[in-house]
Amino acid sequence: MKRAVTLPAPLAEIPWGMLVPLCALVAFGAAVLHSAAGGSMSPYAGSHLLRFAIFALMALVMWRIPRDWTFLMAYPGYVVVLLLLLGVEILGQVGGGSQRWLEAGPIRIQPSELMKPTIVLVLASYFHTLPVGLINTWRAIVPPAALMVMPMGLVLMQPDLGTTLAIAFGGAIVIFLAGLPMRWFVGAGLAGVIIAPLAYFFGLQDYQRRRVDTFLDPESDPQGAGYHIIQSKIAIGSGGIPGKGFGEGSQSHLDYLPEPHTDFVFATMAEEWGLLGGIFVLLVFGIILRWGLNVARAAPDRFSRLLAGGLTATIFFYVAINLMMVMGLAPVVGIPLPFMSHGGSSMMTNMICIGGLMMVDRWNRQSSPLSN
């Protein structure tokens, strides 16, 4: 892919091949939100674009961060986010009631969101420093497991199953990519098969268990939780190939679709833009994720590789779970669709991942491996 126009040096280093489709996706998301608000920029589409602009700036700042700094920040960052999570928990206990965020002036920080990229960072850092020969030993699995379990426990207590799973997924992918023996993963998979039913009966909250039930048989509860999945499928299915047209979606406009601007934004989009819109969204995500993995492969050292791989996996997790949910392939877990759903937290997390990947991409161009 050779560009016809030669850009000045700093601009040429920006990964336009990813950024342009991303901007198109965000703009498309804004259009869908515009329609979901009944044909108005407020309250969704305007703030969606504004947030993207802010977090895009943040990503550009991250892009310039040198590798050494990032590497140094890994553990302190992890500790800070963990303390914030603990803070949320304590405040929640004191305030009496579950709470997921901390408020600092006008800004509301959801530490569990920050933990998603942070867990990837800290694990990449850990495996980078782990002597190569120890990859087959307990030292390769017990400390990372501890690093993951602490935040997961805190987030699960909030309770926020979706984010817990996202943290677990990001961490697991880093561990997988770090090269731990395959049989451990096979063993863990088998253990999962055994533990899942137990977790279902003893580990989940009632409302979470109902979600699983409903996922397995949406028609069992058409008025309750199954309603979400049924209405979402109706929205997607009735869109057909070309869709009903911009602003013409009855499911979202007449409130049949729950959360048409957040978790079910894809259904809102599919109703009006049809299968063609859906393919476009899938393609853009495909481009972004492929770029992410390419960045990881091109990385010169273990830290960068694992960091990029983990960040890509985190974005992927959002996309896959959300889309599977709206199409009735996964239970309703409350995970928004990156870059399209209205919501600051998800935009922040995903833009941190994008910024992190751009950062790694810049290091790749400088191409001098980080020393151990």
């Binding site: 190569v132 997988f176 997607i236």
Partner: protein
């Protein structure tokens, strides 16, 4: 796994595993694309339909009911536009709060609130419960704006059934009401549970339900998930049900019902040429207007506690011993059997039959057939019935219409009994005795008839034609068979019956105050209890004799025939004045009305007014203050008795046509 691990190994592993991760990601991407394609393409039709059924709400518009018209085309039952409020019980969150709030908005009294709460309780969720109809616009609007707080409450503009003459047609037409669970089970269509839809519950309203019903309209609206209407999509107008045209003469029906006054009884008038039933009045009655919005507790209690059974149609379901009214008919049979009408017997105040003495009510001396009729001598019938044999008399009575059901569109009619030896054997296992013949010969004993049968008998006797009563007016002229009586026999009986009224007979006060028209008739008194309990004329109401009268007029060329039965009227003297006034009204409405107005002044108003007053009294006694019922609207006043007088005056001016329907001036429904 003792293989040494190098940094390079790990890089290879990383690359392999990123490939795996990438492949899995791509796989899931393809899976999602396929899944979406499946939903959006293969199942597109199904989901399109579901989205459409989400979006569009179909509301049925209850069809306007067909009118029920009298023989002149004036409405006996029509529709009146009104604002109404209904509740769909299953959509109500909090019944108590809803009743409370609606009650306040509509200024309900505590009893009305209780009625509403009871109705909601009993409705079991499935059908619309009427709250109020005939509302003023302000109240209707007051409810409409509070709708968000009142889930399940449906205010709508609709039509309610209107019976201009109220109680006069209650038994004949029946009434309409919301479908009951049983009715819905029988005919499970959505229309039946549509708020505002009423179906016929009794009488002709029920019989002609399918014809009167019409076709529901439909309104398609776009609604949100919470049921809020966004916009109208399209509306299909309803198709009004077909009208049913009766042989009933509306003004006459109203007049007869009102003329019954305070009595419990019935009046039937038939056309002697066609068998058309001109009037089938039964009183006391209920007001079908108020029944059509559901019956209030007080009203229902009032009606069901009344010992004069206002809920029974006495024309068809009141059975009475015919008493002496069958005597002319028995005479006709004697004539058929060759009895010479001039043959006389000596009355002697009665006859001894076996070891019992059967009294005649007086000693009439020498009695021939004519005298036996006009002075109602029992001894004559004791003798000749025994001579002819009651077998034959009974067979003749059945030919004349007694003990019969007629092919009429009514919910039920009672046969009554014409006793004969075979019947007694089967019913009681005993042989027919001489005293049975004696009893039956004067219309007592086992004899039972309903007023309609008496009217038919009277018409057949008067004309010698096998007239069949007819209730539905169509273009056909009924073919009437001749009964094969000799003209001189018919003439003889007519003359004798004329003497009852206009000669030396028992009902001289029944003479019509009209020149040139003479009414013939026959009185009858049916004993209710034995003379040892009551003399039949005074004492407790329920022990008094029934008063009966059969009649036709003009006597020499019968045009109308009929019967009047007054329950516990204390003798025939209660019955023939009613017949006289009803026939007077037929020939001279103005004169008839003068008589009625004088009487109604004594009684305290028209039947409707008295019913309303009774209601107020009853409500007060029950300790609840009930608001007065609304004024009857002047719509279609033409059917009321007064309208006949006006119409006649009008007819003098415009000779050849009544302006009929135009004058009806009903709302264009």
């Amino acid at each position: 796994m003792a293989k040494p691990v190098s940094s390079n190994n790990l890089k290879h592993t990383f690359e392999r595993r990123t490939f795996v991760v990438g492949a899995v990601q791509g796989g899931i991407g393809l899976l999602l694309a396929a899944r979406m394609g499946y939903i959006a393409v293969a199942e597109n039709e199904k989901y399109l339909m579901e989205a459409e059924s989400n979006r569009v709400n179909l509301t049925l518009i209850p069809p306007r009911r067909g009118w029920i018209l009298d023989r002149n085309g004036s409405p006996l039952a029509s529709n009146r536009a009104d604002f109404r409020v209904d509740i769909i019980p299953e959509r109500v969150d909090d019944v108590e709060a809803t009743v409370e709030m609606l009650g306040d908005l509509l200024d309900f009294e505590p009893a009305q609130k209780q009625d509403l709460a009871d109705n909601l309780q009993n409705a079991a969720g499935f059908s619309a419960v009427p709250v109020a109809s005939g509302l003023r616009y302000e109240k209707f609007a007051a409810v409409s704006v509070r709708l968000p707080e009142l889930p399940g409450v449906v205010p709508q503009r609709g039509y309610s059934r209107y019976y201009p003459t109220g109680p006069s047609v209650g038994h004949l037409l029946g009434y309409v009401g919301a479908a009951s669970r049983e009715e819905y089970d029988e005919e499970p269509i959505p229309l039946l549970v549509t708020p505002g839809f009423k179906l016929g519950k009794d009488g002709l309203e029920q019989q002609f339900e399918q014809q009167l019903r019409g076709e529901a309209g439909a309104r398609r609206v776009e609604v949100t998930a919470s049921g809020k209407i966004v916009r109208d999509l399209e509306t299909r107008e309803d198709i009004q049900g077909d009208a049913v045209r009766l042989t009933i003469d509306g003004p006459l029906q109203d007049y007869a019902a009102r003329r019954l006054g305070l009595e419990s009884g019935s009046v039937v008038v038939m056309d002697c040429l066609t068998g058309d039933l001109l009037c089938m009045a039964s009183m006391p009655s209920f007001d079908p207007n108020s029944f059509s919005d559901g019956i209030g507790r007080i009203e229902y209690q009032m009606l069901s506690e009344n010992d004069r059974v206002p809920l029974r149609n006495k024309v068809l379901k009141g059975l009475y011993p015919p008493g002496s009214t069958i005597k002319p008919m028995h005479c006709m049979e004697f004539l058929q059997e060759g009895i010479d009408p001039e043959e006389t017997i000596i009355c002697a105040g009665g006859r001894r039959v076996g070891n019992r003495f059967f009294r005649c009510h007086s000693n009439h001396g020498s009695v021939n057939m004519a005298k036996a009729i006009y002075s109602s001598c029992d001894s004559y019938f004791y003798d000749f019935a025994r001579r002819v044999g009651f077998d034959k008399v009974a067979a003749f009575a059945e030919r004349m219409g007694l003990g019969q059901q007629y092919p009429l569109p009514v919910t039920s009619q009672f046969y009554g009994t014409v006793p004969n030896p075979a019947w007694k054997k089967e019913k009681f296992g005993r042989e027919w005795q001489d005293f049975d013949t004696v009893n039956a010969s004067i219309g007592q004993g086992y004899y039972l008839t309903n007023p309609l049968q008496l009217a038919v008998m009277s018409a057949r006797l008067a004309t010698g034609k096998n007239l069949l009563p007819r209730l539905i007016l169509d273009d056909s002229t009924p073919v009437v068979d001749d009964l094969g009586f000799a003209p001189e026999h018919i003439e003889y009986v007519r003359r004798a019956m004329n003497d009852v009224v206009n000669g030396p007979g028992t009902a001289r006060r029944a003479r019509l105050p009209i020149d040139g028209v003479q009414m013939a008739g026959k009185t009858g008194t049916a004993q209710v209890v034995s003379l040892s309990v009551s003399d039949g004329r005074s004492g407790p109401w329920k022990y008094r004799d029934h008063g009966l009268f059969v009649f036709f007029a003009p006597f020499d060329n019968p045009r109308y025939a009929g019967a009047v039965v007054i329950e516990h009227g204390g003798g025939s003297g209660s019955a023939y004045p009613v017949a006289r006034d009803v026939m007077t009204f037929l020939f001279d409405p103005q004169k008839g009305l003068e008589a009625l107005h004088a009487l109604e002044k004594q009684w305290g108003g028209t039947a409707q007014e008295r019913l309303d007053a009774d209601y107020m009294r009853f409500a007060e006694a029950a300790g609840v203050d009930i608001p007065a019922p609304p004024d009857p609207i002047t719509l279609a006043r033409q059917v009321e008795a007064e309208a006949r007088a006006e119409a006649d005056a009008y007819q003098d001016a415009v000779r050849d046509n009544r302006i009929g329907n135009a004058q009806t001036g009903g709302e264009p429904t």
